[in-house]
Subunit: 146 residues, 2 copies
DNA sequence: TCAAAAGCAATAACTGTTGTTGTTTTAATC
DNA sequence: GATTAAAACAACAACAGTTATTGCTTTTGA
């Protein structure tokens, strides 16, 4: 994929981890690499199975811990799916997702203007808005064919 | 609350349940009654504890089953919270919620025009939109004071 | 009143996730 | 390059929220 954009350099991962007091390890690098190479929005389980092909001795708990580390240092985001397993995403710029109610597939949406949201839904008085979450639920193309 | 609007009549519950092949039982009525009388958006656990004061022998699993029955017959909606326990709501007209990231409190938002959403976020091609989900995340008034 | 259908409590089990343990690896310093 | 403290590791155990299973009880509808 994008190996020359800086984001992909191993040094990037090391640097980011270092900035939050984290170490760079072989497993962590593998989780990160998988996240970069895989289809978008894999679940922790899927990441585990993928990384396992390279490092057969890795455990699911370790994958969870490493994903947490990546989220903490800002290299990934965790996207809770409402029902079922959360999904992980390398993109960290703010955007929304569509989610297939049958297979759970998530697809990125173009980032929406928060200004529109702010006007559209009025928060209760005294409520300090941190961010919005928008999801488009429905049936993806694949599932629609069946 | 609204005891004269028809929605609150016991007959309403019986009728709705009957229409989907469900029975009217003392526990089910108690769960429903609690949901009507309680604060908005309680969790299954909270409902369990509340109903338990009236029916001490009820179990959490029964509460879940009864909530499921109420959701199935359209009298309640289940609102997954992303993280933590789902919450239940008697209102069935379509609307959105704000959610406090500290205490989990949910507050109804005025229903937003779906048309705006449709224009704002464009679903991927081939994706058949079932509905939208909008959440305002942040800090509620109570938590903000601390 | 009576049989069939559904609900019930009490579990056990399940999924997704996090905490704990003692051991190994890493990065920073010498 | 050797040393050492901090962190990550595997292998669990445990957790929360939820669902499935069981054999018994209640409700419904005839």
């Amino acid at each position: 994929m994008t190996n020359e954009d800086g984001i992909g350099r191993p040094a990037m991962l090391r640097e980011r981890l270092g900035s939050v007091g984290g170490h760079m390890t072989r497993r962590r690098a593998a989780v990160y690499r998988f996240l970069r190479g895989a289809w978008p929005h894999p679940t922790a389980e899927e990441i585990y199975l993928g990384v396992k092909e390279e490092l057969p001795r890795i455990s699911l708990a370790t994958v969870y811990k490493n994903l947490e580390a990546l989220v903490n240092c800002g290299l990934a985001v965790k996207v809770p799916a409402g029902d079922g397993a959360a999904r992980y995403d390398l993109r960290t710029d703010h955007h929304y997702h569509s989610r297939c109610l049958q297979c759970g597939t998530m697809i990125d949406l173009e980032p929406a203007a928060e200004e529109i949201l702010r006007n559209m839904v009025k928060a209760p008085s005294g409520f300090e808005v941190s961010h919005y979450r928008v999801e488009v639920l429905g049936c993806c193309e694949e599932c629609g064919k069946r």
